[in-house]
Symmetry: C2
Subunit: 176 residues, 2 copies
């Protein structure tokens, strides 16, 4: 049981709905901290963390209402800026892993988070998928949907959903 | 992150529907092996495993059709025999933990497994609950129910459900 390939844990992370990029959401940060404290512990060489950030494309193609989009180049720049923002988000997690000495990888995909996460699980085949969850009640869930429930059902690997701590829940629990 | 209290992992275990006591079910054994290989790894002092076995009382009070129950003492003996069987099941897990050097506790409760497990999570407050799952399809689930789905929704701690490997699934997937 000593040695061998490290346990590969994929973690879905996203930006804060309150503070925006580059700040991670409360539930992403909570899931990451939980994994470090409860699973990795002092065994830093036994694990590899795989951070996946899924960016949701705006339906109308406009991500920033302050900007003008008048040419194809404008859209290219916008996409470029999205990538930069995503990278800044991932930097938070990758930097912390380097400080602690845990191996990691991080990447960005576009699409519907729940579907992209399950697709990436199929492709990358981690040992475990971890997703943060806002811990919404049944009434709120009808409107916002939950990525964690979908992944619990459809991901082809074991899944842990980590709920936010009560003392970290913002005034509007849909925020994160 | 080194040292501190060990991570306490509760594991719900039951007997094999094919071989009966004292043999653990395929999914219980699978969940246990997965925890050792993927989470505990070489860090045996970082974890404590808590084995909970829930025995389902027969509705009519008869657990064994070969026996006669003619007096209150007969029923007491029956209950006693149930306890002995449960202890033999738990011995499998406790013995393996001792071989490996992982701290553990084990106990038996009576009742509806999904409700007792969630109640014990509330009482014992583990860091993580692990349940094995037969990985049944939606049609089979309607009839047999699944403990893992219920615990995912109602247990007051993070939950991992470990599905049986395809090559370990018996001819009738309801068996375990």
């Amino acid at each position: 049981m000593a040695g061998g390939e490290p346990t590969r844990i994929m973690i879905g992370v996203n930006e804060s709905t309150i503070k925006g990029y580059p700040h991670p959401s409360i539930s992403s940060r909570g899931a990451f901290d939980w994994i470090l404290q409860k699973i990795v512990r002092s065994n830093t060489s036994g694990f590899k963390l795989l951070f996946l950030h899924v960016q949701v494309p705006d339906e109308d193609g406009f991500n920033d209402m302050d900007s003008m989009y008048a040419s194809p180049e404008d859209f290219k720049n916008m996409t470029h800026r999205d990538r930069i923002r995503g990278i800044h988000l991932l930097e938070y997690f990758v930097n912390r892993c380097h400080e602690i000495g845990v191996a990691c990888e991080a990447w960005i995909k576009k699409g519907d988070p729940k579907e992209v996460i399950c697709h990436e699980v199929k492709r990358v085949q981690p040992d475990l998928l971890v997703v943060g969850s806002r811990g919404l009640g049944p009434f709120q869930r009808v409107f916002v949907g939950t990525v964690s429930e979908f992944c619990q059902k459809h991901a082809e690997c074991p899944v842990i959903s980590i709920k936010r701590r009560a003392d970290e829940t913002p005034q509007d629990p849909v925020d994160d």
